[in-house]
């Protein structure tokens, strides 16, 4: 099991696609934080709009902004493409049969493959989120905003977690 996951990492790690995908994710995050956030905040004279822009990069709102952003989730479609492409190439390369004649069941082989792909996708998404949070910290410092999870008159951290939750799935409130 562990070995086949390792093999999966070896196979994926030497393709271009995951790196390009990750760069696109980071680019999306940069656009959100810097362009829609920092630049919009600096340029906008309108107070309302400025506050909206501020909330895309200032802590703690940046967390929900990054998770909630359509562009961020849009990249998940990319992830789906990545997953299906690795699956499809596996079949067209005829490598699954090679595994079967080595005594693996088709289901077990594909399951470990799916697990490996899931791990890679999760790592890429979390990595991009981490980069986004770093960007936000940088942008906040540049804009002279505090870097804190607590907001005066705002929701507490646990409440914030709850408000971020629905964006992860279709959980009822």
């Amino acid at each position: 099991m562990n070995l086949t996951i390792n093999a999966e990492m070896l196979k994926v790690g030497k393709r271009w696609m995951p790196y390009i995908l990750f760069v696109l994710l980071v680019a999306g995050v940069a656009v959100v934080v810097w362009l829609f956030g920092y630049v919009a905040y600096k340029e906008d004279q309108n107070f309302q709009e400025g506050q909206k822009a501020l909330r895309t990069f200032a802590y703690p709102w940046t967390i929900t902004a990054l998770l909630d952003n359509g562009q961020f989730w849009g990249t998940i479609i990319f992830v789906a493409i990545f997953t299906s492409s690795t699956m499809a190439t596996e079949y067209s390369w005829g490598t699954v049969r090679q595994a079967i004649v080595r005594g693996q069941s088709r289901a077990a082989y594909l399951a470990t493959k799916l697990l490996g792909t899931t791990i890679i996708c999760a790592a890429a998404l979390l990595g991009a989120l981490g980069v986004g949070l770093l960007f936000s910290a940088w942008a906040s410092a540049a804009a002279g905003q505090p870097i804190t999870l607590d907001v005066a008159d705002g929701p507490s951290v646990p409440e914030l977690g709850l408000s971020a939750w629905p964006s992860l799935g279709d959980q009822p409130r």
């Binding site: 070896l10 390369w93 004649v101």
Partner: protein, 308 residues
Amino acid sequence: MHNSEVPVLKTSRLSKRFGKRLALAEVDLEIRPGRVYGFLGPNGAGKTTAISLILGLLSPTGGHVELFGLDTRNHLSECLRRTGAVLEGVSFYPHLSGRDNLRVCAAISGGGCESRIGEVLELVGLTARARDKERGYSLGMRQRLAVAAALLHDPELLVLDEPTNGLDPAGMRDFRELVRRLAGAGKTVFISSHLLNEVEQMCDDVGIIKEGHVIAEGPVAEMVHQADVMEMTVTNADAALEVLSQIDWVGLVTRDGSDRLSVEAPRARAAELSRALAENQVYLSELRPRETTLEDFFLEVTSPEDKR
């Protein structure tokens, strides 16, 4: 190491039907340890089907397969652990190097054979190109990489489905040498092919399959020298006929020309034959055994229905 009584591979009345088409009809094969067995037949004869059944990639319509004396219906994983296979149309990951592809194969095999990668690369002669991406390999190199992958877990039996398809003559020669080397190392090799001279040069035994039926099976040497017939050119054919008719171990004698005869007699007694003729003042200007080549045999058994 091997119990020579137990065939490494044995099929019993193995049959496979695809819808209405009978691809394999009650095939009985038996491969002895340490032999190179050629499974010879024209395209569409059922070779790949038989190999898929042997390796459990397909399930038979009837009959069963035994590997190492174990029924694959109950012991498939143990059987596959001791078998290496090169399948038709199986390829590698083009973006990985030869060595990395073997790493992937080692992981799939359950580990423990990672340490053999260098050894099998050496065996198939790919050490120098092991760091290059598979994408840049020639067909012959790919086939050798496939054999390396099949050898990783040190199997007793190798099953190769048309491994020399598409190779140039030099590639074929290298491959033949590789197979002979493996046989020399005690492996049993089952190799399918539609090329007769390839089987003739590389295999100890041959099974000929046509339209799903195995129509002949036996050692290559026996099929090549099937009949003990000698051709001779003599000084006096009439006298020779007279002399030969007196010898009780001489069978049928036929006259091929004014001074040429075909004589059915054991090849080992050729010297005796020429002495008997000389004692009667009949002299030989030529005496040679007639070789029925495997090709003659193959054409004979496969041609009638091929001429459509």
